[in-house]
Symmetry: none
Subunit: 194 residues, 4 copies
C-alpha cells in the first residue's frame, strides 16, 4: 500500500475511533463517518469491505498501538514489584489519556464483535497474538515473588481493577490523581505478590 493510501486509511480509522467511542457502533452512520473524515461514503468501501470489517480492523489497530505503547516502558533492571507497579501505572495513564481507545475497546469486548474475537483467540491457543504483551511476558514465566496461579487469574487480579476504575473515570465519576493511581497499582501488586 502506498503511503498515501495508508494516510487515507488511517484518517478513516482515526475518525471512526472518535465516532464509535462517542456514539457507539450503532449510532455512528457511515455517512457521518465519511463527512467527518472529509471523504465520500463510497471511498470507505475501497479500504474496508463493510462496516464490520472496519470495526475489526480498528480493533486490531487500537490493540496493537496499546501493546506497543506499554511494552516500550518496561525496564528489566528493577525489581519485579517496581516493574509491575510501573507497568500498571503506565497502563492507567495511557488509557486515561486515550479515552476514545478505552471506550472503544470496552464497547468492542462487550459486543458480538468482541465475543467472536475472543473465541478466535481461544482457538489460536492465545499466545501467538498477545505474546508481546507485558502481561503475557510477565505472567508467562514463573516468578519467585508472584503467586503461582493460572495466567487468567493473575490477569484478572492485575488488570481487572484498572479497567474497573477507568470505566468510572471515563464516565466522569472519579478524578484520577497521582496518589489514587499509585494506591491502585500497589493494590494490584498486593493481590498477586506472594
Amino acid at each position: 500500500m502506498t503511503p498515501e493510501k495508508q494516510d487515507k486509511r488511517n484518517n478513516i480509522l482515526r475518525t471512526a475511533l472518535e465516532l464509535f467511542s462517542e456514539h457507539g457502533f450503532h449510532d455512528a452512520p457511515m455517512a457521518q463517518l465519511a463527512k467527518q473524515a472529509d471523504i465520500a461514503v463510497g471511498t470507505i468501501y475501497r479500504y474496508f469491505k463493510d462496516k464490520d470489517e472496519l470495526i475489526h480492523e480498528l480493533y486490531k489497530e487500537v490493540d496493537d498501538t496499546l501493546q506497543r505503547a506499554l511494552v516500550r516502558e518496561v525496564d528489566p533492571t528493577i525489581s519485579t514489584r517496581q516493574q509491575f507497579v510501573h507497568f500498571v501505572t503506565n497502563l492507567i495513564h495511557y488509557l486515561k489519556d486515550h479515552p476514545h481507545e478505552f471506550k472503544f475497546l470496552e464497547q468492542y469486548y462487550n459486543s458480538p464483535f468482541g465475543i467472536e474475537k475472543k473465541r478466535e483467540k481461544l482457538h489460536m491457543s492465545g499466545p501467538s497474538d498477545r505474546k508481546s504483551t507485558f502481561g503475557h511476558f510477565f505472567f508467562g514465566t514463573t516468578k519467585d515473588d508472584i503467586k503461582p496461579l493460572s495466567g487468567h487469574v493473575l490477569h484478572a487480579l492485575a488488570f481487572g481493577p484498572v479497567t474497573f476504575l477507568l470505566r468510572d473515570a471515563t464516565a466522569g465519576l472519579v478524578k484520577l490523581d497521582e496518589s489514587l493511581v499509585k494506591t491502585l497499582a500497589e493494590g494490584c501488586w498486593d493481590a498477586i505478590k506472594k
Copy 2:
C-alpha cells in the same frame, strides 16, 4: 398490576434478557422479541413505552435481583476476611450461573444507557440507591483490617478482577472451578486488606 399482567411482563423481560444478551440491543428487533415471547409486537408496547424503556426496566430488574441474591448471603458473625471472601465467591457463582444477566449488565454499562445511569447515581450521591449492597455496606464504614482508601479504589480492587475474569469465563475462555474461584477471591482480599 394483576399477577397475570406481571406474568406477561416478566415473560417479555425474560425473553428480552436472552435476546439482548445474545445479540446485543441493536441486533435484537422488537419483532423477534415478540415472536420469541410468543406475543404480538403491539403487546410489548402495552407494557413498555418503547425499546429504551424496556431496556432500562430490564436493567432495574436484573440489578435488583442481583443485589437481593447477594445480600441474602452475608453472615455478620464471621471475620471480615471471611465475609469478604464469601461475598466475592457468591458473586462469581451467581454471575457464572446467570451469564445472560452478566452479559446484559456489561453491555448496558458500556452503552449510552449505562453511562446515563451512572451519571444519575453520581448525582444521587449514591447511598440512597445501593445502600443495601454489600459493597457499599462493606466499604462505606471504616474497617480495621481494610486499607483506608477511597471507596472507588476499594471497589475497583475488590470487584474489578471478578468482572474481568467473568468476561473470559462467559466467552468460554476459562472454566471456573472451585479452586480458581477461591484463589481469585483471596487475591481480591489481599489487594484491600491492611
Copy 3:
C-alpha cells in the same frame, strides 16, 4: 333506542367532536376517545360500525343541529334585507360560539369524507337534504329584491364570506366584535341584493 343508549351514543359523539376538532380525525385515536368519554374502546363499536361511520354520523348530528338552530330564528314579518342580515348574524354568532362544530365541519368538507358526502348530495339532486335550511328556503323562491342568480352563486355570495372570516377568527387572527359582524352581514347583503 332506549334513552340510556341515546345518552351513551351522544356522549361518544360529543367527545368525538371535541377530539376531532382539536386534533384532526387522524390524530384522535379511538383509544383516547374512549378514555375521554370514560368508556371502553369496545363499547364505541357497539354504537358505530367503525371510525368512518362515527365520523359520518357525527357530521349528520352537527349539520342537523346547526340547521335547526338557524331556522328557529327566522321572522317572516320583517323585510327581506332584515331577515337576511339577521340570519347571517345569527350564523356567525352560532359558529363563533361553537368553534368545535365549525372546525369539524371545515375539516369534514375538506377530506375524502366530505367530498364523498357532496357527491352523494349531488346524486340526490340535493333538495331533499337541505330543503329545510334557511338558505334553501330563502334562495329557493324568487324574491323581488334579490338578484336573479343561480342558487349556487347566491349561496357563495351569502355564506362564503362567513366561513372565510370564521376561519381566521377560529385561528385567533381576528376578534369578532359586533360592528365587524354587522359590516360583514351587510356586505353579504350588498352582494346579493338587486
Copy 4:
C-alpha cells in the same frame, strides 16, 4: 442546487400534490408517493427531512406559484372595479384549472399545518410576506370607491365567495361557465364597493 436535483425535487412535489389532493395527507403513504414518483422511498428523504417538511415545502411552492400567476395579470390603468373583477375572474379560472392546488390548499389550511402557518403570518404582521399579493396591495391602501372596512372583512367579502363556490365546483356540483364566474365576481364587487 443543480437543475437535475431541482427536477427530481419537483417531480416529488408534483407527485405529492396529486396524491395529497386526492387522498389527503394521511391516506397518502410515503411508499405510494415513492412508487408513483418512480423513485425509492429513501430518495424522498434526501430532499425533505420528513413528511411534514414535504408538506410545508409543497405549500410554499403552490402558494408562490399562485401569487405569481395572479399578480401577473393586474393592469393598473383600468378602473378599480374592472381591476377587481378581472382579478377575481382570474383567480377563479386559475383555481378551476388547478384543482389539485385548490384542494391541497384547502386541506392545508384546515389542518394543524395551516393553522400553524396562519399564526406565523399573524406574528409577522403579515405585510412582509404577502405584500406582493393583489389582495394586500388592493386592500392595503385606501381606495375612494371601496368601503372603509378592516382588511379582514374586505378579504372575506372579496374571496370568501370564490373559495366557497370552488369547493362545490371541485366536487363536481357546479359547472363554472363564463356568465356564472362573471356574476360571482360582480357580486363580490358589490359587497365591497361604496
